[in-house]
């Protein structure tokens, strides 16, 4: 409000943060890469007065009335709305449920907020709502409150969905990126890059034929199975936007550990690898919607891995790397040929390369 003393002066802005590169929002600010992170760090955190950790965890954790809660939100703007194996509705439920589960909480209650563009067919909205209902039932969460806004044609794109949700964290569980520690074993719960390639296969102008379907799923049952082995899981993360590379970088930065990846251990399905080859993409940066990364103390790693493999959502779980005392805050991959390369945070979204 006009009256309040501004903490930041945005008009005569001269602070030397990278944000000033661009005086306007570009697509990359929503890509989950560097630009997104800088927006959180340099704009939202100072404005909201949040703690330094804001933006690094999948969900916020706090106590209310004696209960320890995880609370998270995501907005879904994926195009097309329907794609092989799922829809924006599935993502909207599973995405927020997963962010809650990544704190070790059981997601239980969701809200949803729709921004509808006038002219959108009601049947489209109906199918999305159906998918949300079905996904919620599968995930065991209830959509308990909502809101709908309509915007003028040309000021939206059919349907955008926001969900927020809460879940209860069991006693003794403390899962957050800052807990990654040297020696931790890094596990991925299954094949990577699947969701992103499924989406691209139906994106206008890029269409290609493939059997790949989104991996969208609620990961809480898998988390529960892992927590049954040990409460001492250090970090969980669903590598969505920006893929495995971005999630690992965020964790490496938050905990200031080095992350060492073994490239040949990465479970990249052949179709994902081939689609990436065709488009000039790197599977490490392609989005997942039903996979998690776990940072587990070395002593527990084998048991946790076994529990994951015993669960349908983790059948193909595998160790892909470890936390090291070198190159802190960086992710480095050992290539198949024995070389190394830095796996950096992307700037914005990955663009199909042709050269």
């Amino acid at each position: 409000m006009a009256e309040s003393t501004p903490v930041l002066d945005f008009d005569g802005w001269s602070c030397p943060v990278p944000l000033r590169d661009s005086p306007t929002i570009v697509m990359g600010h929503g890509g989950g890469g560097q630009l997104s992170a800088e927006l959180v760090q340099h704009l939202f955190v100072p404005a909201f007065g949040s703690q330094g950790d804001a933006g690094t965890a999948d969900s916020a954790v706090f106590e209310l009335g004696g209960a320890r809660l995880a609370f998270s939100t995501d907005t879904f703007v994926v195009r097309p709305l329907f794609f092989p194996g799922g829809s924006i509705g599935d993502l909207a439920v599973n995405g927020t449920a997963n962010d809650i589960a990544m704190s070790g909480a059981m997601p239980s209650h969701l809200s949803c907020g729709f921004i509808l563009e006038e002219g959108t067919e009601l049947s489209v909205l109906g199918r999305i709502a159906e998918d949300m209902g079905a996904a919620a039932r599968r995930a065991g969460v209830a959509i308990v409150t909502g809101d709908t806004k309509v915007v003028d044609a040309g000021h939206g794109d059919q349907v955008y969905v926001n969900t927020a949700g809460v879940g209860l964290i069991p006693d003794g569980v403390d899962i957050r990126p800052q807990r990654a520690a040297v020696g931790d074993v890094i596990i991925v719960s299954g094949a990577i890059g699947v969701h992103g390639i499924a989406i691209m296969s139906v994106r206008e102008g890029l269409e290609f034929g493939t059997e790949i379907r989104t991996d969208t799923a609620c990961l809480y049952p898998l988390v529960a199975a892992m927590l049954a082995v040990t409460a001492d899981i250090h970090v969980l993360r669903d590598p969505t936007r920006g893929g495995v590379a971005t999630s690992l970088n965020e964790i490496a930065s938050a905990a200031r550990v080095g992350v060492r990846l073994t490239e040949k251990a990465l479970p990249v399905p052949p179709e994902v690898r081939n689609a990436c080859a065709l488009l000039g993409l790197d599977p490490l940066y392609v989005a997942n919607e039903g996979k998690l990364l776990a940072f587990v103390p070395r002593e527990q790693a084998e048991a946790v891995l076994a529990a994951m493999r015993a669960h349908p959502l983790g059948e193909q779980a595998t160790v892909i790397g470890e936390c090291v005392d070198e190159h802190r805050a960086m992710v480095v991959a050992t290539t198949t040929f024995g070389g190394t390369r830095v796996v950096d945070v992307p700037i914005g979204e990955q663009l199909p390369r042709i050269c």
């Binding site: 296969s201 290609f208 034929g209 052949p270 179709e271 081939n274 065709l278 024995g338 042709i354 050269c355």
Partner: protein, 96 residues
Amino acid sequence: MCLAVPGKVLEIWDKDGTRMAFVDFGGVVKEVCLQFVPNIEVDDYAVVHVGFALQQLDEHSALETLALFQRMGEIEMEFGDPWARAAKDSGQEVRP
């Protein structure tokens, strides 16, 4: 500017007088223009760049090259552990 990959021609047809095909890149199928490879047939491999087949892949030559690599290994074997020598030569520690 040279991101081109080999794929197998699945099906050929005509579109506005242009020879087109579905090409399979290991489970990923894209529509490709065949105008530059007039003699290519179904089951042949095409090297595809930005939606165009630029060459027919010479499978015989590909297999020959691979065979050469194989043979070279066998010749090398006779001269002792190559990795040790590599490390020595380059002055750095090379891990396999």
